[in-house]
Symmetry: none
Subunit: 201 residues, 4 copies
DNA sequence: GATGAATGAGTTTTCATTCAT
DNA sequence: TATGAATGAAAACTCATTCAT
């Protein structure tokens, strides 16, 4: 058919694997993993089933890729905030707000994340959980740093605070409305503020 | 084969519909709605497919019943707290902690709730969302009452606070560990405390 | 399992499982196991795929049933001959000829047997081999009985003789021609004669 | 990428077609023709699919080559024995034993032969059968020569004797155990002996 | 000579639901 | 009330083969 350099792109010029991943992400978010058939994905991506299985070992693999991408992104951003030189309070506030903004910017990935994790094969599930844990621990370390410095209350254990905050963030795809009164950044600031206020000594 | 003559119970004495509902709840929570076949449900309940379709119109109906049950329960408990005569601070703290405890006590229902909602048919989905909204609004009213009374900070809009708290609660099935260091009640108190501290003026 | 009455028959009055088994046997023999699709089987049997999977767990199961049937049949016939009261020479000759006749009468089963065994799942393969071994051992016992009695030569180990004879018999489906000059019984007598002559002291 | 310039070998120095044939033979014997994918073959041979289709027209072609090789080999060896100058009894015994030894030495080819013949396309199947017939006829001629000379019994038609012997030989891959008590040559001698004893007048 | 991305028809299997009994 | 045989549509995945490079 249409051929550009190594027929890996076609039509809009986006490489086939990316096209597949984008289509899968959207459909998984809209309908759920189980309700989305491989046939729908390849049709949405404009390729055939054979092509999909040329690049991905299974439907499950596709889901895993979605996870890997969002995990990588969020870890990078958290690291950037955590490694900053501002006072701990500002760094935590920045990170807490940022995860809200990027979650909203990638709401599809987020809704897949918290709804479809159990569809991953056991090994992949384990792998994702491990990366997720690493992320949480980095965040917890920030809180503990503040607690040791006496800036944050020690009344609630740091890991509970982390679970509390991320529980809400993961649920954003359920309750966030793009047409709401707040911009993503404003919403993020509100939630970060809520967190910081709860941590006041 | 076995003649039962005019009774819907059998074996352990529990009525068939309840047995079906209990089996479905457990399996939906363990494997997800789509991954659970009607065959598995009837086998777990010790009845036949015909029996299931005698009591429930469809597999979807079964899911809806699970929702209806948990919604009814939580609304009742919230109403009880909200209608109390204690000061607003105590009533909110009680309700916020109670929803954590009952969520942990019905963790299967909870995990089905936040993971399988999109499997409901559009009408049922709408119905569930409506009841859910009613629940949230009652909770929000508590917060607003406290804000008007000057006991809670008004910096964060009440509905945002509600979403923040329930986001975490709905996610409990993801991060709650029965073998953790805290009892359900202790955990509930911690989370309620976190909420209340965030609301300090 | 085996159920007549009920709607298990249809059209020609033969129960559905039998119809499926007959169709599968013919097709496996004609085309091989791998070359025969489940679709072809159900079409030949005049039922739907769902019906096949209602009675058989898998395509593999169908193959196993074919084996089980022929193994059962042959073991019964061998036992009948071996348990006879004639002199050992006559009993061996009778058994050796009979297995040829019944193999010709069930040539489809036979060709499936020696060509498709490796398609069985490991456990089923093991099971079939075990039954097969039992059959061979019974036959070998006859030869050894004659050797001990001094009627048969002891120059060739009995198990080798068994393998030699059954090798040929299993290959009948390759070289037997229904339109050849000999009737099945005549052919069987010739082969039994060949075996007995090789065993002359 | 890697420029190889005018040589069909690579790595271990064996030409690509041979490498493919060897890999295919092993895999066909282990898993059967249908269960072996072209992908597996090229991976085992360390080449790509394009290379395979460069040398062979189809997967079927590969199977045919396996047959051609073994047929050629066996015909040559039979001819050598038949053309000898020893007495007919010795020549038949030699040929009968030799086919057992070479079959054991090429057990993979043998098991493919008797199990996968029906996978060949009709023309190739016809061709193979024709060569096979030629082989059988040469063997039969030896028996008839002995019968005319009065050295072998004429009670059993020569072609039946041929089928009887080769039936067993073709089945060797089913019952031969490399760790059995007999060496290939000893086993071959035993079977040849069995044949010759059956032919005693 | 050789690559490997892409095809498309094919495979086995699953499953919610119906209905005659 | 309850059964379970049967349906039929859809699912995920495989694979021999082609062809632009």
């Amino acid at each position: 058919m249409a051929a550009v350099a190594r027929t890996t792109t076609d039509g809009d010029g986006t490489p086939v694997p990316q096209r597949l991943l984008a289509a899968a992400t959207r459909l998984f978010a809209e309908q759920g993993y189980d309700r989305t058939s491989v046939q729908e994905i390849v049709e949405a991506a404009g390729v055939t089933k054979g092509a999909l299985y040329h690049y991905f070992g299974s439907k499950d693999d596709l889901l895993h890729e979605v996870y890997a991408r969002v995990l990588r992104l969020q870890q990078e951003r958290l690291d950037a905030f955590a490694d900053g030189s501002e006072p701990i309070e500002q760094r935590l506030r920045g990170a807490a707000a940022d995860v809200v903004v990027t979650t909203i910017e990638n709401l599809d990935d987020a809704s897949i994340f918290f709804r479809s994790m159990h569809h991953l094969s056991p090994e992949k599930n384990k792998q994702v959980r491990a990366e997720r844990r690493r992320y949480h621990e980095r965040f917890r370390a920030l809180i503990e740093e503040g607690q040791k410095a006496g800036v944050f209350s020690t009344e609630t254990p740091a890991d509970l605070v982390v679970d509390y905050h991320f529980g809400s963030v993961h649920h954003l795809s359920t309750w966030y409305r793009p047409d709401g009164p707040l911009t993503p950044q404003q919403l993020a600031d509100q939630l970060a503020d809520l967190l910081l206020r709860a941590l006041r000594p």
